[in-house]
């Protein structure tokens, strides 16, 4: 780590971008949050558990939430990667659409509901509009838009509805399966329920 990293630190992250220490803090925080819960932990608890001083942790993250955001961002990157894998596999725009949402939803369900700590953090992120949650939705919207435009080009999808209206409405009706706060109430219906919703959306896209 002797080279100088010129990239700016992410929101809420302070000081030199020393990835080694930062990752060490995030890993230790994950372990601690998993055992004691995100809500109940303070930066002082974390410092004690890791064996760092509070001041040293504050050199890297300006609050507990900034650490939570780093964990959340890692997790949402995995969710987006689950969606991307589906897009690559899809043969047509409709197929990409279907596999994209299936990828996002199944990865979300795996991550958020097999690890209560990740769910708690994702729930805070969704409820309080944390930057990684907002960035995730922007990313999902961009990818969705690209798939819809492809389908309009290939003639698979209708072209009358303004593209932004189409994308926004799709994200609104798919939120029951994308937003962890809502997905929580839909776990019993996986994977059939999102498939039925996806089929309805694909019917709405028909030319």
């Amino acid at each position: 780590m002797s080279m100088i990293d010129l990239s700016p630190p992410a929101a809420g992250q302070r000081g030199p971008v020393e990835h080694g220490v930062r990752d060490q803090i995030v890993d230790a925080a994950r372990a601690h949050f998993s055992r004691f819960g995100y809500g109940k932990t303070t930066v002082a608890d974390l410092a004690k558990a890791i064996g760092f001083s509070k001041a040293y942790i504050y050199k890297f993250f300006d609050s507990k939430q900034a650490i939570g955001q780093a964990i959340c961002a890692q997790c949402l990157d995995k969710v987006l990667a689950g969606g991307e894998a589906g897009v690559v596999e899809g043969k047509s725009a409709a197929d990409k659409f279907r596999r994209y949402f299936n990828g996002l939803i199944s990865t979300s369900a795996e991550l958020f509901f097999e690890d209560k700590m990740l769910y708690d953090i994702a729930a805070h992120a969704a409820e309080e509009h944390w930057p990684p949650a907002v960035a995730y939705m922007t990313s999902a919207e961009d990818r969705l838009k690209a798939i819809i435009l492809l389908g309009r080009e290939t003639g698979e999808f209708e072209r009358k509805t303004p593209i932004d209206e189409t994308c926004e409405a799709i994200l609104l009706v798919m939120q029951s399966f994308m937003n962890p706060l809502m997905l929580k109430h839909n776990l019993d219906g996986l994977p059939e329920a999102p498939t039925k919703a996806i089929n309805l959306v694909l019917r709405s896209l028909a030319p």
Copy 2:
């Protein structure tokens, strides 16, 4: 109240169907729940507040939840009435569809989010699948089916998708606005967001 009422008591409600006393208990319970919360109240608290013995209350309701269910059923009847009023106003099947969901959603938002007590009870009902919540969804599905069938008859809606699949998928995508546990996270988007979702669903119904 000297005439004998032959209708069977509703689930969880016991003893002779003496509406006067039953209503008196429900009204007193509403007031008490509003002040102290549904979750924290016991039947003993209620009995004390109303001035009845616990045993007397148990002659009419076999648990606190049975009283909660009576309140919930009253409330969901109002929501359904809000939807029905829309159906009556609607000129075409699409218009009835739009007004039906707008009626359900706006009445839900009014009832559940202007009175924390009603939200708490509705949330318990949705989470624990109380009979009035299940009956509400059955009722909504029946009404929806009738509107879709009308639209198929008038040629406004497509006829290829099996009707049950169509109805189920619509309720799945509209649940973000119908289920109080999910609507809670969508209040900021009212009334535009459900309108966008309804427009998407209507596109999916196009012949």
